[in-house]
Structures are given as C-alpha cells and as structure tokens.
Symmetry: C2
Subunit: 699 residues, 2 copies
C-alpha cells in the first residue's frame, strides 16, 4: 500500500534542507513562508554552516533534526538529491518535496537522476512531490512550503497544478478577490505524485469541496479516468489543459519533458471522467469559486435584475449561448414588481430597474420573485452609479441569499468602485464577476456538472461471442503490419461484426462461381498487397448484375490497375453480395500513447474530413458513453432521423463500437483499425462492415 499524501499538507514537522541565510534565496523564502501563516508543527532549517536562520535553530543535516518530522523540502542542486533522499529515508521522513530543477526537463543525465531518485524513495516508501516544483500550501494547517508571496483566503477549493508558475500566478491573481482555497499543490515533473494521486487525496479530504487542476500532460491515462470518474461523482473537478494545439503541446513538451497524447483523446477522457474542462485561466477560478459557494442550478431558467440594460443584454447573449433561458415573469409578479420600482422600469426579464436602482429595489425584486418556482438562478447586476453604493447593494443581495435556496451569481461591472462590494459578496459566498460575459460561462459549467451527476448507473459492454484466442493466434502469425480487407474479414467475424457475404476468388472462373453461389447483383474488389485504398485506383466495381457484366468488369478493372499501379501484384478478387441501401459511416480506433484505445465515429466519404464531425471516446467505455459519442455528432443526428429523414440502426452502430473497443482492449498489438464504411441499415436491421483495414504495431 502506498503512503498517504497527508504529510505534504499537514505534516507533524517540516525540515527545509538547504535553507540559505541569504534572504535573496528561494530556500530562505520557503522558510519564511513556513513561519508566516500559523503552521503549528516544528520548522527545521537544515544548513551545516548556520546556527540559526530567521530565529530558528538550524541543523547540520536531516539526521540531527528532532522529532516529530515527516516532511522534508529539498532545495539543493539536482545532483545532491539522491544523497538527500537516502538521508531522509534513514531519518524516517515520509514525504519529500524536491523544489530544485535540473531533472527530466533538461533531458539526458537529468532523466537518469530522476530514475535513481524514484528508486531510493520507493525503497524507503517515501512519497515525492517534484522535482522542479514550488511546493504545497494548506490553508487550514497554515503550511506553506512554497516561496510564493502571499497566501489566498481560506475556502474549499483544492488546487493542483503541474506548473509552479501557474500556482504563483494564481495566488497573485486571486489574492485580492477573496476566492477561498483549501490546498495548493504544485507537482512539477511528477516523478512520483501526479495529478491523479492529488485528485484522489482531495476527493477524500473533508475540507475540499471543489478540485481545480492545471494539467499539461497526463502519464497514466487509464488510471486517471478510473480514479477521477469516481471522485467527480462526489466533488466537481474543474480542469484547464495546456497543450491543446500542436504549438501548445510542443511548448508543454519543451517545458516538462513530457509528451502529451492527442487533445481529442484528452477531451474524450475528460468527458468520460466527468471533468469540467474550462478554456482559460480566468474561467478556471470563476467556475471553481462558483461551484464551491453556490448550489448547482436546478435547471436552465434565469432571471436577471439589473440597473442597466446594456450589460444585461451582453449577459443574456452569453446565457443563451450556454443553453440558458430568461424565464418569463408572470403578469401578477410583473404588477408586483412595478408597484415599488421606478415607473419607467422594465418588469419583464431582464428586470431593468434603471440607473437609480438602490439596495431596496434589489430587495424588492428578490421579495417578489423569491417564490417563483421556475426560477433556477438569480443574476443581480449593477453598473456603479455615482449616487448608489455598490457595497450596500451587495449587502442587500447577500442578505437575500441567506434565505433563497437557488443559485445566485452577481455581476458588478467595474473595478475599484466595486472592490468593497466584492468583499461583501465573497465573504458571504456569493460569487461576483466584473464582466457580464462571465455568468453565462460559469452557469454553463455548473449545468454540465449537474448533468454528469444525474447520469444513471453505467452499463458495461458485455459480449459472450468473441473469439479472442483465435484472433490472438491470427495476429501472432501474420507477417504484415498493414492488414487490408481480406485479412481483417476473419478478425471482424471473430468479434461478431457483421460482414457482407462474400468470398475470395483466385481468378475469373472462381469469381463467377462465387457470384453464382451468392446471387447477383454482386460487387467485385481487387485484392493486392500493394493496394490499400482500392476505390482510389478503380479497384471496386459495384452493382454487377450478371455473369457477362462480371467478366467485363473484371477485365476493365485489371486494365485500370495495370495502368494506375503497374507495380501492384493482383493476388485475387473479392466477390461480395451487393449490399442493401443504408447510410455509410466510419468507426475506428487509434491507440493513444496516453489513454490507450481512442475510438472514433464519423460520417463516411469526403464529409468526415470536410466537416470534422467526429465523436471520440476512450475504451473501455460504457454503452451509454458509446451512445453519447455517436449522438454528439451531426452524423448521429442523421442516423436518428434528422428532420423527418429515415431512421437507421443506431443500436447496431453502438454495438459495433463496443465490439471494436473490445478488440482493441484484447489485442494491444493493434495500433489502428478503421471500418470504412460501416453500412448502417434501417432501424432494427443492423449494420454491415463493408471494408476494414488495420495497422499492427511493430513490436
């Protein structure tokens, strides 16, 4: 059993190994921070050349540090780290934070050094955070093992970040805003402890209500999904991913030495794990803060009460684009609103009390609307006016918030003039934004989390008819790395995928015999190890009605191939029954280095590339997730009868995705599979693999 992460946040005592006496050194800053925020355990600077630092007795080495001590913070040059870890292990230290850089991120010798460090730590059952990180904070124990200036307000957001700079930037950005945190953890190179470990730890921690994460690259993707999808059922996890584009991924890679998988795989994984992904740093905290303060909205119906129409219109746009609507206010309620507001006020939604609106006007709105059952969220907005005190309005609103059990988000458009109002709001756990575009984004994220919580128990795919052993054997014996239709047909069949009836024919006579047996009309396809994309070279003839047509089709095909690809060796012909009418889609799998089998679904033909209308998922997935992956695409809408169009066998598509997932899970040697096209028949009639190809790994 691996040791808990608790000593990183609530250690019994902390040794800072390599504490400098020079106030300009980071190690000195760490020691200072340890003394500033009320940490109650022992604080032990380790420095063989000092007697005391910042008034604390210094120790020559870790072995001399008195009990109790279970956390060490190492701030010495990278090459000294193995020796330090040995000493820590001998001293009985449970957790070490390695602040220093010079490891994996510099490549070469740094990579080796990391491996050595991990071995040493494991031999002592010590947990490591870092290297190349800025440490941890616990707002409850007062522990601050970082050199970051300042410490945020106490609250219930646990923040984990691969980047130390992002941690530092965030502490600075949110410092004055009163956004409350419980923990900070900066993980750096993640030699041992990674974001999945910290998310699991926060998941169990009673002081954490919301988890926020900044992630660059995840190493063990399947474990991430497994652990995080459990935690997210209990606590919302808001995540910002860097390296979403190629350029960003290269920047991440040169930064951490980690290789990120494809962003499509990350997105699929986040979705399957119930992670709330945000697009930028500002949203990360807007969303986490709202989730940590306010109940989730019951539904998507909002009322805006404002002193100014313009910002309310901007907010309305963003609400609508996140799926929210402005609820209708009943005539009776409108009459009640009008009774005490400015006679020119608008009493429909947005309720516009006009520029002079004061605290009692907001109060009146809440009093009238509090009991309207179809309001899920209240959005009071104010643009400061010279004659109205925003803080007074804020006090009225937070007072109402105490009794109203709905979601309340406030927006006050301004900077310095709304500073006091924000203090009032945030100390009373009502989130306030200064831009009208924020509430829509925040509510959108809250709503998506509510939908995740509402998802019913997932159904695993279960198949009893798979011939796993036979496919293992087949793959073991094949010498090719690229398998075309002839090779993939038996594999597809063994995994219960429907194939169009057909047989291989060596020559004209065999082809005629097969066609006779199948019955016309038939399809003729060229078989050649050199030809993977048959249709591009005229290697497919459809709808052949008779023996004569078959002969001439074959003759023309051979001529075309001989011209287009003279080097191609024609080893035979596939003769297949002409398929019935249906809709052609593509399903596929590509093994992602981070998350494993990345499943794909999309429209067939040129449209898949043109419209990039592709659904992604990570195997293993549940039946529900497969349905969602298909339904989220426009192609999925077509399958389900878009605008009165025909409906196709969606269930058969989901079944095929499940079978292909299982194939990928059972056979790690398969790098890629593409069923293109999968012919989806009308509802209830199934789906047929018309062609499939596969790429095996070289190993």
């Amino acid at each position: 059993m691996t040791r808990s992460l608790a000593p990183f946040f609530s250690p019994s005592g902390v040794a800072i190994i390599g504490t400098s006496q020079d106030p300009r050194k980071l190690s000195h800053g760490i020691l200072k921070n340890m003394t500033l925020y009320g940490y109650q355990g022992g604080i032990y600077p380790v420095n063989p050349k000092a007697d005391q630092i910042l008034g604390l007795p210094a120790y020559p080495d870790i072995s001399a540090v008195p009990d109790p001590v279970d956390l060490a913070v190492a701030v010495l040059p990278a090459p000294m780290t193995p020796a330090i870890l040995h000493a820590c292990g001998e001293r009985g230290i449970k957790a070490v934070i390695i602040i220093s850089g010079g490891f994996k991120e510099v490549g070469g010798v740094g990579v080796e050094l990391e491996k050595e460090c991990l071995q040493i730590a494991q031999s002592y059952q010590m947990r490591l955070i870092g290297p190349n990180c800025v440490g941890t904070m616990d707002l409850y124990t007062g522990l601050n093992s970082t050199f970051i200036e300042g410490m945020p307000a106490r609250g219930s957001i646990g923040f984990v970040s691969q980047s130390g700079a992002v941690c530092g930037g965030v502490v600075d950005l949110i410092g004055e805003k009163g956004i409350g945190f419980s923990h900070f953890a900066s993980l750096g190179n993640e030699l041992d402890v990674n974001e999945t470990d910290v998310i699991a730890f926060f998941g169990d921690h009673p002081q954490v209500k919301v988890i926020a994460a900044y992630v660059e690259a995840i190493e063990h993707g399947q474990r991430f999904i497994e652990v995080v999808s459990q935690v997210s059922k209990e606590k919302p996890i808001v995540l910002l991913k860097a390296g979403r584009t190629d350029a960003g991924a290269r920047a991440v890679s040169s930064h951490t030495g980690s290789l990120a998988g494809s962003y499509a795989a990350y997105q699929a994984a986040f979705k399957q794990a119930g992670v709330i992904e945000v697009e930028d740093l500002s949203s990360l905290f807007d969303v986490a803060w709202a989730l940590s303060c306010q109940p989730l909205p019951e539904n998507n119906r909002v009322v805006i009460m404002t002193n100014s129409g313009g910002p309310a219109a901007l907010a309305s746009d963003l609400l609508a684009s996140h799926g929210f609507e402005l609820v209708e206010i009943s005539a009776e309620k409108q009459r009640q609103l009008a009774e005490k507001l400015n006679p020119s006020a608008q009493v429909s939604n947005p309720v516009d009390m006009l520029g002079g609106a004061e605290a009692h006007d907001f109060d009146h709105c809440f009093n009238v609307l509090a009991d309207q059952p179809d309001i899920d969220t209240f959005l009071p907005m104010l643009v400061p006016q010279s004659l109205v005190d925003p803080a007074e309005v804020a006090r009225a609103i937070v007072n109402q918030a105490k009794t109203i059990k709905k979601t309340i988000l406030a927006c006050m458009v301004g900077d310095k003039s709304v500073g006091e109002a924000r203090e009032v709001f945030h100390s009373n756990r009502v989130p306030m934004s200064v831009y009208p575009e924020v509430p829509g984004k925040v509510l959108g994220a809250m709503q998506s989390y509510r939908q995740w919580l509402e998802k019913s128990n997932p159904t695993p795919f279960e198949f009893s008819d798979l011939e796993k052993a036979r496919v293992c054997d087949y793959l073991h014996h094949t010498e090719r790395l690229v398998l075309g239709e002839v090779d993939t047909r038996p594999i597809m069949a063994d995994y219960g995928l429907n194939l169009v009836p057909g047989e291989l024919a060596a020559d004209r006579d065999q082809a005629l015999a097969v066609a006779e047996k199948l019955g016309y009309p038939v399809v003729l396809k060229i078989v050649s190890p050199q030809i993977l994309h048959k249709s591009d070279l005229g290697g497919i003839a459809l709808n052949i009605a008779s023996a004569e047509d078959l002969e001439s089709a074959m003759q023309q095909m051979v001529e075309r191939i001989n011209t287009a690809a003279p080097e191609a060796e024609i080893t035979g012909y596939l003769v297949q029954k002409m398929a019935p009418k249906g809709m052609e889609v593509i399903i596929g799998m590509k093994r992602d280095p981070t998350f494993g089998p990345l499943m794909m679904f999309g429209l067939g033909g040129v449209y898949v590339e043109l419209f990039k209308d592709i659904g992604f998922g990570i195997a293993p997935m549940t039946v529900e997730q497969a349905y969602e992956m298909v339904s989220a695409t426009k192609t999925g809408q077509l399958l389900q009868g878009f605008r009165g169009g025909p409906t196709y066998d969606l269930h058969a598509v989901v079944d095929a995705i499940g079978r292909l997932s299982q194939l990928a899970l059972d056979h790690p040697g398969i790098d890629e599979v593409e069923i293109n096209p999968l012919l989806v028949l009308p509802e209830g009639q199934g789906a047929i693999v018309l062609d499939a190809r596969m790429i095996l790994s070289e190993a």
Copy 2:
C-alpha cells in the same frame, strides 16, 4: 448639409439646463464633472431658482446665458424637452444632449415625444444626442458632460456606446489600467446622432486612432456599411454587439425599444464594412488598446520569451487557435541565447529563461532576437517571483520597444504585484495583459485588420443583360405572394440565370410532345398552386427514359398527389431535360429589416440544416465579397476540389449570387428568394437553376 458633431466634444461653451443645487442629483454631478477636468469654455448652469451653483453663476433660462455657447445638456423631465429645444434653437445652440429618459424606451407617448423633439431640432438645424444617455467626454478639451465618476487616461481610442451604463462600467473597469482614450460618446435612443455619425466624426478626428463601439441595434444598415467601410480603411473599428442571440436581442429590444435584425446579417455587415468584431467587453478594450499602441504584426510569426513554461504553453494554445505560429529560432541564435541565460534555460521557442529570469535576461533575449527578420511579434511573459521586480522587467522591455519596430505585447500573470509594471508598460504604450489567453485573441484581431487593409480595390458586379422593367411589370401584375417554379422561371431567365430547358404542359399529350422536343431523358414535375415543396409529396420524377416511362410516371405521380394532398389542384406539369451531373448548392436572399438583402449560400439537401454551413453577405456586394462568402464555407471548399475531388464552376456560383443580389436590389417587393438547388457543373461549364421559389411582400 448637416452640422458637425464637434460641439458635442469641443464646444465654445456649455449650458446645463436643469442643474440642481442638490449634490445627490445627476444634473449636479454633470456640472461638477464639467468643472473638474480642465474644460476651458464657459460653463453655465441653468436653474431659475438658483443664483449660483458650485460657485458658478446660474441663469434662469437658456436665453439668458452669455456668449459663446453652442452645447446644451438637458436634464429635465421628458415632457419639458420640446420647450427646451425651442428655447435652445432660438438661442442659437448647435448641439443638445438629452440625458433624460422617458422616450422611445417606454413606448407610446414617448415615441411621439421623440418625433416632436426631432422635428424641432431639425427646424433649427440642431444636432441631438440621446435621449436616455449619459453624455460625452473629450480627453483633450477636458469636456465631461456625463455624471460618471472619474475620467480615464488620455490616449487615442474614441469610444461610442449606445448604452450609457456600458460607458460608465468601462470608465470604471479601465480606470486603473492606464488605457488611454480620446473621446466617449453615449448615444442612448439615437433619435438623431447614431453610431454611424460618430464613427464618421471619429474617422475625421486627428486625435482618434482607434474607434471602439458598443452596439445594440443599428437602424440604417446600408448607410452603416457605406460609411464604416470607408472609415475602416483609415482607422480600425473594434465593435462589440449585444443581442447576438434571440434572448439577447429581446433584452436589447426591451432596453432601447429598437428591433435588431438577424445576427447573421450583422455579422455579414461587419465583415463587409471591415469592422473587427469582438465577443466580450474585456476583449473590446484589450484589442482597441493594442491597436492604438502597437504597429500591426507583419505576419503570424511570434516569439515568446518567458520565465515560466506553463503560462507560455497556455499562450501558445491561444496563439495557434488564432492562426499564429511560434517561429523557429536558428541554431546560431539559440547558441547566443544560451550564452547568458540560466544553463537549464530552453532556448527554442518559447524561450524559457526559468523562474529566476531578471530584466537583463529579457534584455539579452531582445538583443539576440531583435534582428531576426521572420519574427513579427514579441511576446515577453512573466509570472512574478519573489526575487524579481516586475516593474524593472517592464522598464527593460519598454526600453527595447523604443527601438524595435515590431509588434510587442506583454503578459504578466498577476494582480497587485504587477500593478506598477502595468503603469510602466501602459505609459510607454506597450499593452500588458494579466491572463495568458489574451495575447492570442488580441493578435488574431490585429491580423484580421491587417488582412482587411490589404484587400485590393473591389470590383462591383456589372450586368448589362438584365430585363429589369419586364420583371417589374411581372411582379406588379402577379396576384400571388408565393411564387413557385413555374412563376420564377421567367424572372430567373430575365436576370440571366441559366435554367434547365423545359416547358409547361397542360396534360399527358402536351407533356409527351415537350419531352419529344427536348429529347429523353427528362424530368417530370407537378404544377399546383397548393404545392410548394414538390419533392416532399412525390411530385418529381427523375431520369425518365422514354414515352412509356413518362406516361406511367405521370400516372403514378397523380395517384401519389391525390393521396398525399387531395386538396391540391393539379394545373399542369413541368417537363424538363434531365440535368447533367454536378454538385447541388443553395443560394438565397432574405430581406433583413436592418441591412436589406441578406444573401445566403450553402450546401444543398439535408446537410444545410444539419451542418449550418452557410455563407452570408449583404447586397450590394463586390465580386470579391461574393467569392469570400462562398469560399468561407466548407461547401465552397468542396466546389474548389477538396482533397483531390472534382472542381466545380465556382465563378458561375459567384455570378449567380451577383445576379440574385441585383434582383433583390432592383425589386424591393421581393422578400425572399431561394434557388434550391443550383446545380453547379464542372469548372467552366456553368451552373443551372433547377428550382426556385420566391416570397413577395404584402405591401
């Protein structure tokens, strides 16, 4: 000739009509603001009950105010406004700002009152701003006719806003950030002066370099496009539109009493007018400020120099998603960079100088990279570290900015710890953001403006073969409001659109004769005034190969129609030659209440609704704009030979759009036209109207 707007910003003297002695009244606030910011002209409070207010002599009415005075600010109840305007006109006032509300936005009597006010103003050739607004500011003359607290820094952004609250919010939001403005104008109900007038005024004003606009609804769309597309060739116009969604539009409507046209029309108009549209309030000023400070980037190649990899990765993502790339740094430059940076620093792009980077490290980067010709933009980034002074780093960067003639944007992730740095940056006209997501957005907007400036001289559509008079006559005489294929064929032909050959037949015998004349294969279509969507009811039979087939097709069609639409009267049949193979697209026109003919282009069939892949434009448009409207869609990519596919006659599509535009411009009685499908033939072979319908206005 209408009078200039200059007196709204640089009047010779200002009378404030209805100035209260009570400091809690808005009118008092206005008088106070007039005295605070160095305005040099006369300031005349008008109040019959006061001798002096704020130490200034008060006048009983406007006629008593001494010369010179050319601006009046009216702050009295709405019903008194006509009398005030008369008095102002008699006194020779050139410009009046009506602050008071109670006009169009309250409906009914308010609408009438506005009309009366406009008539009075026009009779004296006075210009009006408002009603229902917060006035104007001029950072150079010191005029402040608003009651907004505070005044921003002096700079070169002219800001026009329909919403007064947005003006006030913005002054507050940017107050501490040192973003420099030249003018503010809040327009309220826009009874006389509207955003187009102000944009034209700013366009001619030497102190305005960048125009920022907050717009809710535009009234005269065609004039907006005409004027703004001229101004935008000289000065960038950054615009935020409220009411983009239905909910937002309703909020705008209840706020201003204006009805906005469709957002698709607004977007098309903004594009054609060279307006830089932004999505939110924060971007409005980030973009305007950068444009007013920095040269446009020559191209899309950026170098990031940073003290922290995480924020640089986030910035890289946003750069990439806006079409920017991180330029490669040559081996020689990398070597030079490494010479003086931290030995562990990354010297590829992003250049990561690591946490300890100081001012001289940034200096070193600039010194090495300044002469690399393929860098268009420098993006220095810093996350504050306890041992480095951000202001010192800022001073180094602005010093470099003085000699480097490239675009420089800075990012320092933090709040209070980067406040002094921001002062250094902004007083030296280097824009600084605190979130790493900002520079990508800002550069994307700058790049789109550069592309607008680079557009060559536009080519108007010119047609000499249009039978305008004949169509006028036809439309004048038709009694129907909905025209089907039979009715639209002559109109299409008169505007030079190619039709598939065909004729109307009354019965079977005529149909056979027409088919004989055209030559088989033919298409048979039902003609019935009750049937507009023929294919839905089985009213179209394709590819009829012979006389026998035609007879049986007709019989079956009649049976189908009789069953599906027993009420439909079959008045005849269209017999047309079967069209050759091509790609089916839709072109259309819908008259927008704001901008006039809104042209549309999209993929034919079910896909247009599924993928919403539609290009929009406002007629009249140039040939280049029509090409752009088509090319911006995925369908346009298909026409041009996507991934080695066939290429179709794009020019014929553009020609058809031009002809349809002209039809809409020539005949305002046409509300809607839809050519569906337009069959686009292979390159050089043209495009054929296969079906078209039209809706006429009732007037």
